[in-house]
Symmetry: C2
Subunit: 261 residues, 2 copies
C-alpha cells in the first residue's frame, strides 16, 4: 500500500508519490470535462455470456471498465482505447447505447473508498468528485482472443458469468442492464455472431449464443432454417469430434453476404 506523502499535485488535488499514478493524474487537464465512458464488454465462452469487471484494490468493489475522453479524441476512439487497455484487442465491435446523466450522478463516498484502496487520499475539490455524465458503450469480443488486464487501481480484471454478476459500484448495475437490453433489442438487426464467436463454429454453438443472449429457448430446426435462409453462413467440412452421434458441420460467416444494411 502506498504511503501518502502529502505532495500536492497542482492540477489534480490528490496525494500520491507513485510515478504511474502521478502520470495518470497529471494527464487529467487534457481530458474533456464532465464526461466519462463506461464499457460493457461482452464475451462468450462455455455457452455463457460473460462480462469483464474490474475489482478495485483492497476493496470488494466491482466496476465496469471505464475512462475519460482526451480533448483530441473522438468518443468512439476513447471507448476503443478503454477496451484495448483492458483486453489488448483492437478493431472491436462497439456500440453506443445510452448516456447516463442524473444531476446527482456523483459518488463521493465510493470514490474516496476506491482511492483509499490504492493509498490515495482525494482532496475535497478533486475532479473525480464532480458530476460526470457517462456514455455507455457495449463491446462484443471474441473471448479467447482477449487478455484481461487490470488498471493501476484494480487487483483484477476478470470475466463474470452474466447471471453471477456481483453488485457494482455507482450506477453500473443499471448501465449493465441497459446494455443488455439494447443488445437484445439489436439482436435481429445487428450481426453479433462474428464478434462473439470463433472463426468456425457449429450450428448448435450459434444457437446457444442466441439463446443465451435472449434468455430463452429456440426451436432447433426452426433456428437452422431461419439462419441458413439468411445466407450469411458458409458451410465447411464436417467436424470430427469424439461425440457419440452424427458429426455436425462447421460454419463460418460469409463475408460477401454477412453484412446487413
Amino acid at each position: 500500500m502506498y504511503k501518502p506523502n502529502f505532495i500536492h499535485l497542482l492540477l489534480t488535488f490528490c496525494m500520491t508519490d507513485n510515478p504511474d499514478l502521478k502520470e495518470f493524474w497529471e494527464a487529467r487537464p487534457l481530458m474533456l470535462p464532465s464526461v466519462s465512458i463506461d464499457c460493457v464488454i461482452f464475451g462468450y465462452y462455455d455457452n455463457q455470456l460473460k462480462i469483464l469487471l474490474l475489482k478495485y484494490k483492497n476493496t470488494d468493489c466491482y466496476a465496469l471498465p471505464g475512462g475519460f475522453i482526451n480533448q483530441d479524441e473522438n468518443l468512439e476512439d476513447a471507448a476503443a482505447r478503454v477496451l484495448n487497455e483492458r483486453t489488448g484487442l483492437k478493431d472491436i465491435y462497439l456500440e453506443q447505447f445510452y448516456v447516463f446523466g442524473d444531476k446527482d450522478r456523483r459518488f463521493d463516498a465510493t470514490h474516496h473508498k476506491l482511492m483509499n484502496g490504492s493509498g490515495i487520499i482525494l482532496k475535497a475539490d478533486h475532479f473525480l468528485l464532480n458530476r460526470f455524465i457517462s456514455i455507455g458503450y457495449y463491446a462484443l469480443i471474441n473471448f479467447s482472443k482477449a487478455t484481461p488486464m487490470p488498471d493501476v487501481f484494480s487487483d483484477s480484471c476478470t470475466w463474470h458469468d452474466l447471471n453471477l454478476v456481483p453488485s457494482l459500484i455507482f450506477d453500473h448495475d443499471s448501465i449493465l442492464e441497459k446494455a443488455l437490453h439494447t443488445l437484445r433489442k439489436n439482436l435481429d438487426e445487428k450481426l453479433i455472431g462474428p464478434n462473439l464467436l470463433p472463426e468456425t463454429f457449429t450450428m448448435n454453438e450459434f444457437q446457444n449464443l442466441y439463446e443465451t443472449i435472449l434468455g430463452e429457448k429456440i426451436a432447433r430446426s426452426n433456428f437452422q432454417r431461419k439462419i441458413l435462409g439468411l445466407h450469411m453462413l458458409k458451410r465447411l467440412d464436417k467436424k470430427i469430434t469424439g461425440g457419440a452421434h452424427k458429426a455436425p458441420y462447421l460454419y463460418c460467416f460469409d463475408t460477401k453476404t454477412a453484412s446487413k444494411p
Copy 2:
C-alpha cells in the same frame, strides 16, 4: 443591432451590454462543461411531418433548438426545458437517441458568424468555442398545441416540412438524420400516436402519420386490421364531415391499453 461597448464580462469573455444577453452569458458558470443538448422537435400537421428550426438573427443560418445543462439539472430535464422554452409545452414525449462527439466538433467560424448577427463579438477564449459533445433528443409533440418561440439570438422559430429542410449549421444535418432514423426504427415499439395526433382522429389520419414517418405506403385494410388488433384505440362516434362519402369513425387512444411493455 447592439453596439458592443467593450465591457468585459469576467466569466464569459464576450462583449455586450444587453441585459438579457448579459444574464444569459453570466449564467454559464453554472452549466455542465463540454456538454450540450440538441432537440429534434417533430410535429405533424396537414399530413406532413415537420420539425422546428431556429433562424439566427441577421444570418441565413438555421439550427436545431439546443441548450446547455445546468449543474443541478438532469439531462432529461434539460432537454425538457429546451423544448418548453421553444414550444411552451410541458410533459412532452422525449427520447434520447445519440451522442455526437467527434474531436473536431467545434465550430469557431460559425459561432462567430451567429453571434455577430446579434452584435456580439466572441473573444478567442469564449466557452462556446470549446469542444462540445451534444446529446440528441427527439420530441414528438401535438402541432396545434405548440407556440413556437425564438430565443434571444434568433429571428424566428418555425415549422419546416421534413422534405423541405434547409441545410443546417454545425453537424445538425446528421443529427436530424439520426433522429429520423431512430424514430423510424422505434415506430413499432414505441407508441408515437398520442404525442403527434390530436385527441381524436380518423383511421386515415393515423395511417397517414405512419406512412409519412416511414416514407412508404401501407395497404389500408391491413393497417386497420393490425391497429385495431392491438386494442389501443377506442372507437367514438361517427365523424360528420362534408366529404361526399361514408363518414369515418373517430378514434382516440385507450389509456387503459395504450402503453406497450
